[in-house]
């Protein structure tokens, strides 16, 4: 009787634990959140970026190592562009060089991109769509008297024709050590052009060269589009020599006070050592 009870408990425990193990294995995949954006650069190439995040009890985190498929769609047609794997920042990036693809556009000029993840044991599937118009920016530099002006122009490319990018903002930046610094806001007139005054007080390289970036940012119709060019209008950078004493650790010779202190201390200590050794030698010599 006792044996049968023991066996029953054992079987119950084994089933319970194995069931618990199965439950553990059957844990739900986590939700992921996808941000889909596009960048168009100077060389007319385009990047498709899908940023993937998820969250747990400790908060939001980037999901690394997910394969994202990028597609181009137009009505019933679909073109698979390719796949990219998300990096440590959770970003899967797919680059399209200029001229490699003829983008299909609808009547209003929109191009439709799709980014999708098919799902895995750890994460649910996710898909995002993006519709943008194809825009091209250009900037030119002109000096008018003492004024230094940056002229810009924006053109929207439709399915057949093109038209000016009008009544919109364009932001100007120059790169700094940690991020780009905004130097001016521009405005597209009806004819798709505009200009800004270049602030010549910004610091460039030793010759005054600075990279000027004009950028449409996260635009609902155009995405991110930027164009840049180098101009020598900035204030040349000059090395400023530090005033006052330099830090002695970097100098080839130690400061005089340190050398003097060390000599006094070491001479004092080792002098006494020598005295003690001399006494020992004296003991040795005075032996019977």
């Amino acid at each position: 009787m006792k044996k049968s009870i023991t066996y029953t408990i054992l079987i119950f425990l084994i089933i319970s634990f194995s069931h618990a193990g199965m439950l553990a294995q059957d844990s739900e995949p986590a939700d992921i959140y996808m941000e889909f954006s596009t960048w168009k650069y100077n060389d007319l190439s385009r990047s498709l970026l899908a940023k993937i995040t998820s969250d747990n009890d400790e908060g939001e985190y980037f999901v690394e190592g997910l394969s994202v498929q990028f597609r181009l769609t137009n009505g019933e047609e679909m073109l698979i562009l390719g796949n990219a794997v998300s990096n440590t920042d959770g970003i899967a990036e797919f680059n399209i060089a200029d001229g490699t693809i003829k983008y299909p556009k609808d009547e209003e000029g929109y191009i439709y991109f799709t980014a999708s993840f098919d799902g895995s044991d750890a994460y649910w599937e996710a898909e995002e769509e993006l519709m943008i118009k194809d825009v091209e920016l250009s900037i030119t530099f002109e000096e008018e008297g003492d004024d230094k002006l940056v002229y810009f122009e924006g053109v929207i490319f439709g399915p057949e024709e093109e038209w000016p990018l009008a009544d919109d903002d364009l932001y100007f930046y120059i790169p700094r050590m940690f991020s780009d610094m905004k130097i001016a806001d521009g405005w597209f007139e009806e004819d798709g052009t505009g200009y800004i005054d270049f602030p010549t007080t910004v610091i460039g390289d030793s010759a005054g060269n600075v990279l000027v970036i004009a950028r449409l940012e996260d635009h609902y119709d155009y995405g991110n589009v930027e164009v840049s060019d180098m101009i020598s209008w900035a204030t040349p950078k000059r090395l400023i020599k530090a005033e006052g004493p330099v830090r002695e650790l970097w100098t080839p010779i130690a400061p005089m006070w340190m050398i003097i202190t060390l000599i006094i201390m070491l001479a004092g200590v080792w002098g006494h050592y020598i005295y003690a050794i001399v006494q020992l030698i004296g003991i040795r010599r005075s032996k019977n």
Partner: protein, 439 residues
């Protein structure tokens, strides 16, 4: 001519079993310690062949248990020097049974401590560069100069302190020791027979070196503290680090001294020489140092906490969160226990004082860990894309094996040292006259 050795023979008869052939239990103890050292050597081979990846040290937390051990051993060494130097200089009446142990602690710890620095270095082949291309303005160079000066000074001081006993051992014909040891005693005794001239020379040299070892101990441990405090790191950049380190060193040293006294009292039945008075006296010293240590610790963290600088706040948060238990054990238990046990006469027994000393030694080791590791885990700039084990440190078995190996080496050298020289000085000196001369 006065032969000081004749007067010492009576005492030497008492200690002859200590310096003669070791007992079986001693041999077993030595084998046990040797095995632990061999385990450490095996870990060292693993570290050399596979690189420092086998340790917990990484790009951000570049110092770990090794440097903690280095500070710890150097601390107890300086404490030994300070205690033995002070006791000698002031001719304290109860010093004799204690002074030899303090001297041995000084020398042995001074040889083991710097080895941990070598274990930290990835490119040992570049070690000569420290001498060849060292810059005087570098704190590392200060440390190299200071430690080598200290080692030399402590060896001279120990040698001067044991010279009379070596001469007594040379002259004690009843001693049954191998011939090579007799020869060694003869060479090391330098022909000392206790003539007035020899005594004068020896006393002069010993007094001078006692002053020197005290001064050097303070300077050298301050230099070690400055290696940290001249660095602009949260938790290290502090003006009180020099005296704080010196106090912590002597505090830990008194703890080790009490433990050593207790062990030798038990092994060699030194109840006649190491009385409760010795334990209480060193215990009171430990109590005073505990109070000073508590004061410095409180002052250090209070100013950081009230200043509320972002990086200091991060460090204090880390200490109060991840290292909370360690912090409490190190800075509360380690301070309060000596105050209570030694401060209240009822608890002031030899065993209680020794248990307190053990707690103090552990607390002080943890204190050094809390100085080194959490600071390196709190860098000024945020670390992007860093793996968790680069930011967060924990010692590996290799580091622990080498730590245990170091402790075993300390015990082994102490055991061997005690076999070579009587652990209680046996030679006599005309104390009163000398004291009058000095004062």
């Amino acid at each position: 001519m006065e032969s000081v050795n004749t007067a010492s023979f009576e005492k030497l008869r008492e200690f002859r079993s200590q310096v003669e052939r070791p007992k079986t239990i001693s041999i077993v103890w030595i084998i046990f310690l040797t095995l632990l050292i061999l385990w450490g050597i095996y870990a060292l081979i693993i570290q050399i062949t596979q690189g420092h990846i086998v340790t917990g040290m990484r790009d951000n937390v570049v110092w770990g248990i090794f440097i903690v051990n280095f500070i710890f051993f150097m601390g107890i060494s300086y404490a030994g020097a300070l205690i033995s130097g002070t006791l000698h200089l002031f001719r304290t009446s109860w010093r004799k049974p204690v002074i030899r142990m303090a001297e041995l602690i000084t020398i042995i710890a001074l040889f083991i401590g710097p080895l941990y620095i070598l274990l930290c270095i990835g490119r040992l082949d570049r070690l000569p560069y420290l001498v060849l291309f060292g810059r005087i303005q570098s704190p590392i160079t200060w440390d190299v100069i200071a430690i080598s000066t200290d080692i030399f000074g402590c060896i001279i001081f120990l040698y001067l302190s044991v010279l009379r006993d070596i001469a007594a051992l040379r002259d004690f014909s009843e001693l049954k020791i191998p011939r090579w040891r007799k020869k060694l005693y003869r060479i090391l005794a330098l022909g000392y027979t206790g003539t007035p001239d020899q005594q004068k020379k020896l006393n002069n040299a010993t007094d001078i070196m006692a002053v020197m070892v005290i001064a050097i101990a303070i300077i050298v441990y301050s230099v070690l503290a400055w290696i940290f405090s001249v660095t602009l790191q949260p938790g290290w950049h502090s003006t009180i680090f020099g005296p704080y380190f010196v106090i912590a060193a002597v505090f830990s040293g008194t703890g080790v001294l009490i433990i050593v006294m207790w062990v030798f009292r038990k092994i060699y039945h030194l109840e006649k020489y190491l009385t409760k008075k010795h334990f209480v006296n060193i215990g009171v010293l430990m109590l005073i140092l505990a109070a000073f240590f508590g004061y410095f610790t409180f002052s250090e963290y209070l100013t950081k906490w009230y200043g509320s600088q972002k990086d200091d706040e991060n460090l204090i948060h880390l200490l109060m969160d991840k290292y909370f238990l360690m912090f409490i054990l190190s800075n509360y238990l380690g301070v309060l226990m000596p105050l209570i046990v030694v401060g209240i006469p009822k608890f002031r027994t030899i065993n209680m004082i020794t248990i307190t000393a053990v707690v103090v030694v552990i607390a002080l080791w943890l204190n050094r860990y809390l100085i080194v590791v959490p600071t390196l885990e709190s860098p000024y700039l945020p670390i992007q894309d860093a793996r968790l084990d680069w930011i967060s440190y924990s010692g590996t078995w290799v580091e622990w094996a080498l730590t245990i190996g170091g402790v075993a080496a300390f015990c082994l050298f102490f055991t061997i040292g005690a076999r070579f020289i009587p652990i209680i000085p046996v030679s006599e000196e005309k104390e009163r006259k000398r004291k009058e001369q000095i004062l």
